[in-house]
Amino acid sequence: MRDKHILFLALPALLYLFSFTLYPIASNFVLSFYERTYEGALRWVGPGNYVWLFSRDPYGGLILWNTLLYSVTTPAISIALALPIAVALKRLGGGWLVLIMLPAFIPAVTAAMAWYLMLNPLYGLGYYLMQAGLIKANPLSTIWTVVLIDVWRALPTAVLITYSGLRSIPRSVEEAAMADGVIGIRKFFAVDLPLITPHILAAFVLTALTGFFTFDPIYIGTAQVGPRLLDNLAYYSFEKFASGEFGYAATLIVVMTAVGTLLSLAYMKALSARAVLRLPGVYRLPNREAPKALHVAVLAAALAFVFIPLAWLVSISVKPPSEIIHVPPTLFPSKLSLDNYRLALTDGLPFFLMSLYVAVINTVVTVLVAASAAYQMRVHNLGGWPLTAYILYLMTTPSLLYIVPLYLVVRGLGVYNTLWALVLTYPIMTLPYAIWILYNYYSGFNRQVEEAAMADGMTRSKAFFKVVLPLSRNGLSVAGLYAFMFSWGILIFPLAFSSTPYDLANPLSFSGAQTFSIYISMLMSPVTMSYGEVSAAGVVSIIPPLIYLLAARNNLEKVWGAR
């Protein structure tokens, strides 16, 4: 039943992915043996860059240590928080999940900015925390603030995965446990926890990746407290790239690629794991349901954790300018002022438009290209497990890995600092994710629909576009949500591939490609002190993905598999 239409339909995605990922990965490796001289030429230095990183670089130790700390604490804390939240959700109803998911859908740069504003020891809630003696050190200058922001952003993933794990336990097994008299807390440890071990492992690896590649919080934090305090490998390599040291940046990225690959392999292993977490002494645990009040308290605490930084952000954004820089800070604005929004929407307009263009274009392109590849992969087993594994691998590698070689490509094509540079590069991060979502979505798809269309005389390609695609709306809308969220909020690609704001005097040139995330990060400097404008911009940056999230909410449930 093979025919060339199958390959043809998947070709755009495959061609793009292979040329835009394999080349950079190889190119990084080659570049890591060179250094750029003062004149800009590349000079072979052999393993010199690696020797420098591990033995001579004065920041080497600090950076490796910070990286390790971020990659271990983020998943550990996220999972520890996610398990009780998932249990509470199961008891109180999954409808609350969408609220807890919110931090995963707002731009990372906005998340980081909101936390730094809130923890500010003079103008934020940080003032009261220090007054009360709850925190001793300045919250801006500690790496734990970065961990906190990472946990805030990783928690939704951890909750989602553990919660869907709990729901995947067959109802009859739960009833069998009841019949055996194993209930409540004891049942959780004797039955549930062992059965969701693969989910916990998967959530651990995914959140570890968030911690390992954390970038935006450090970018924002460094602007507050100065360089090198918070740096990890990801941020340090970006600094090296930005200062033109391509060889050393590539070296740092190769090291990250190696670790990231190990984590990806661990993730794939976790997805198929048979391992179970078995705790001794479970029969000594109390054999009763935890009181409902406890579940309510856990859920309330989770919602507070999610919403307090956002509430603080909204509160600043409507304060009059004089009230924003005020010690001690007021909790609520004395009067509503929309000046900040006026500023954010006039100064920020070119950035906003550029973000919107690239997000819309990239979402549409990603979804169409991903669907036609994912369907062939799932239904016609195109590429077999090696291709699936490669997609999964790309999904778990971060966009940072590609910036040095792609910068050279974008420069070479003459599209640097234009919309086209972003349109060309964004699918690297959105396409694998969209393919993976749709790949899973199509596992439950009735392939006889396609066969019936072909029996009615359509070619396979026509059947796909006329029949399969229109029936895939739920999956497309969820894949699109993730693509939109990434393309709307990402910071690192526009930082690397643009240098000026969108030129509104000459709008059809589509040149000047700085995005709204860059606008936010530029405002978030202690020099400009434009906290009002940045918080208004932050609120604005939440709105488009929020609208999409609410519109696609029901589809999310279908694709996540509501019972």
């Binding site: 067959p170 009859s172 097994v173 009833e175 069998a176 446990a177 009841m178 019949a179 055996d180 008299g181 194993v182 209930i183 004891r186 004797a190 039955v191 062992p194 059965l195 071990t197 179970v276 078995r278 029969y283 054999n287």
Partner: protein, 319 residues
Amino acid sequence: MLLLKGLKRSFRGFTLYVEELEIPDNSYVVLLGPSGSGKTTLLRLVAGLETPDAGAIYIDGRDVTKSPVWQRDVGIVFQNYALYPHLTVFNNIAMPLKNRKLPKEEVAKRVRHIAEILDIQDQLEKYPHQLSGGQQQRVALARALVKEPRVLLLDEPLSNIDARLRLEVRGFLKSLQRRLGTTVIHVTHDQEEAMALGDLLVVINNGRIEEVGPPSQLYSRPRSLFVFNFLGLSNVLPASRLGLSGGELIGFRPEDVVVGGGRYTGKVARVEYLGPYKVLEIAFNDVVIKARVSPHLAVDEGAVVRFDVEKDKILRFPS
């Protein structure tokens, strides 16, 4: 003795109502009904996995309506067995005992005892996914029986077994019940399975109990037309068609039709050869009458035959 009184459970436009049902000790009881009739709901109510909207359940005179499943002294075997995939067979069976914190030696002794009865003593170190479907079912039975429950509940226990093995497992279930002397409640939609196993059949239709009785009685002398139709091939027609008096419907089984002589003449419309017997469909007086005959009887489609119906086997149902 298990007693259900005024039991009611409604959901999504469906209501199960049991006015009164008494299940004697040490008997094999089969709940039989078409799918969606409420038989599984009734089983789950007895188990305590569902709570009734009204009514009461008594086990040996003790009101257990409000008791959770683990306080009811029932063992349950789920349709898909619901073994714990992360535990060995031994630990699956031991779960209810360990949970009661019985001493280790006692747990081991009782697990081994029940494993021997079910002939799975050499599977104890395996995991459920290493077992065949039939073995998994025995493990599920062992786990349910190790607690020595007053009532054993079986939810469609033969539906996931190969057709080939079904007869064997059927015989095993019955002999197990006879050996252990527990009360078994078995849910099925297969009337042949129900009649083969049940000391008592409870036929359920559309949320109501149609009739209760031993299989032979329900097969040959049912009060309910539904039960008559459901328990096997049947002929139902107005009495006048056979020239009998009365305005009601009459029913009789194909085996109560004698072909080759008698008062009536009809044309054979179809012949079905089924191995041990043949079924003829005889067109007669604008109705079709099914007759069961010897497989050796030579008769072709289109042939005209004489037949009769055994008078004392004819049932009358109000129309």
